[in-house]
Symmetry: C2
Subunit: 359 residues, 2 copies
């Protein structure tokens, strides 16, 4: 099925209208739209406008509060815990990052753990907020459990992404943003749509055996941590996903592990949740809290240039640095528009009818 | 070839004597020995007493200063850059961690980037220093380039490990400590000794093709980032290794990327190094800078217990949490002694003769 192409502005106006209809303030609706569509621009289609219907459903069942009282509930000069008051993660996370950056301005670094939030879009957006302030930005979040730890038949972790953004001088910045699994769930969904098998190493079946079945999650299967198998280091990806869960969930007082709240509104909330809502962890480090900004940027340029000009293996044009492909995609999509698969188009059209908002 | 077993005390006295003979102060020699042998106890044999000969050789060629003036050269309330003055990383890193913890006591967290250092043993030791202070500890280091980024024919990164230690209440703590590659170089060395092939996904040959040749690094090959291949997420492992290099090297003013100083003393230093020596990055976060320590520990216990009691896949006894296997190994080796392969025994015996120190 072929894609339909929308301009950024078209999708922007639609999402903005939807968030305002949900009851968000003008400022919050703009922020949420900006965060949401940054995913589509950067080619992370699973986390962009395709999720808008999901946010609306969460709002409909009362799991998203469109007018949250986002507040600091505990703090020190370099840390805070923020209660998101069930707000959109798209709004709560940037506020938390703002607090982290304020603290970094004062004492060099700022670290904010967030509870009582919801899905926050792409981690990279929040980390990149630091770049214009000459700070290194970090963002991570826990998520509902789709991932089996090494040797586990049970799903205990989310895809728990980590983003780190590092400013540079003349070179484009370093922006890592990745799930701590071998492959994101969105890639399995694409394979399902195409009736294609998935590579081994992405998932296991309900008994923990390797599988190439793209629909295996619906049959009790699980995603695998980065590394795929123990012999290829899956215990390291499992450790990374664990760190994200602990920093985002345990440190803030959010729920965690298999008790992290699910994104689909039709999935019941876990019983006996040990904390409140979803958790995030964001941080900012002023580069001049370590060395003069110019010295850092000169060396960072040298680093970036060396990696970008490395000799590629045969059959590849060049070696990329984290964030390069997303930046190339963003430039293209700003110009040429954002292609959406027909399932997403249908979802948005249904939403358009239901909420009486032109698409 | 069978191993020879030494008691912890026997190896401890030998290493202590060696470090003192190198000119280290009593306190520094004790610290270096403690850090070095923590690797042997925890089963990370590649980073323990097997490296003692290597440290001595670096000292012999003047690349290790046994009486360094370790000092803070830049700081803010939550950050510092430490100049290791070419000291043993085994001594410099714990000092840096101490500074990070002091800052955490004052403002909630402390983050120290280190330049002009050398190999620091296992990252886990430094991260675990935080546990007794009810802090989360982190440690990472760059290292000489053995790893090819995704699509690169060149080796540009070290195995760049990350350690994160998280305190708990009644449960044993979470201690992640892992190279950001699929497999550590030590595992290739073991395969070489046994004339065994290595699994695919660990390394590539000089042209970037998959290989099972355990000696491939000597033939222009490279280790692969965690994830092995692009399709299995190697760009994520590459991003992680990059983050470690940037935080340890670029942020401190140490050397970085392909210019990181090599560990073997017979390998010439890279030309036009962009910074001073090897770099580390350590950090500490007070758990009560986020929420009351008891609340955190209660939830952390719940987290750890849930993962440790998860249903394992068939053929496996249980699901482990990061650090569990190392803790089990430590208990066993404290009781039963530390087995060393004959190559290492011969190295230590030669060192014993040369320095006239009884083994």
């Amino acid at each position: 099925m072929s894609d339909k192409i929308y301009s950024y502005q078209q999708l922007y106006q639609f999402a903005l209208h939807v968030f305002k209809t949900m009851g968000c303030s003008e400022a919050d609706a703009i922020l949420a739209t900006d965060v949401l569509l940054s995913a589509d621009l950067r080619g992370i289609d699973s986390h962009g406008i395709a999720r808008l219907v999901g946010y609306v459903r969460l709002w409909e069942v009362g799991r998203i509060n469109p007018t949250p009282n986002i507040q600091i509930v505990h703090e020190t000069p370099s840390t805070a815990v923020v209660d998101g008051d069930k707000g959109l993660g798209l709004v709560v996370a940037p506020r938390a990052m703002q607090i982290a950056m304020e603290k970094a301005k004062q004492v060099g670094t700022g670290w904010v753990s967030v509870k009582n939030s919801n899905h926050f879009g792409i981690a990279g957006y929040h980390a990149m907020m630091a770049l214009s302030q000459d700070m290194i930005g970090m963002a991570m979040t826990n998520a509902s459990a789709l991932v089996a730890p090494t040797y586990s038949a049970e799903k205990l972790l989310g895809t728990n992404p980590i983003a780190v953004a590092v400013p540079a001088g003349n070179q484009a910045p370093f922006v890592a943003d990745f799930a701590t699994t071998t492959a994101a769930n969105g890639k399995l969904e694409i394979a399902q749509r195409n009736n294609a098998p998935i590579p081994t190493g992405w998932a296991q079946d309900a008994q923990g055996n390797p599988t190439t079945d793209a629909a295996i999650l619906k049959k009790g299967g699980a995603l695998l941590p980065l590394g795929s198998e123990k012999e290829q280091g899956s215990h390291k990806g499992y450790a990374l996903g664990s760190i994200v869960d602990i920093f985002s969930g345990v440190l803030s007082g959010a729920s965690f592990g298999p008790w992290a709240p699910p994104f689909p509104a039709y999935v019941a909330m876990p019983e006996n949740m040990p904390g409140e809502g979803l958790g995030h962890f964001v941080g900012a480090m002023r580069i001049d809290a370590f060395r003069p900004a110019k010295d850092f940027k000169d060396n960072m340029d040298k680093w970036l240039n060396r990696f970008r000009t490395a000799t590629p293996i045969e059959g590849k044009d060049q070696v990329y640095v984290a964030g390069d492909l997303e930046r190339i995609m963003e430039a293209a999509r700003k110009k040429e528009g954002i292609p959406l698969v027909m399932e997403v188009v249908k979802d948005l059209e249904a939403l358009s009818s239901k909420m009486n908002i032109p698409l």
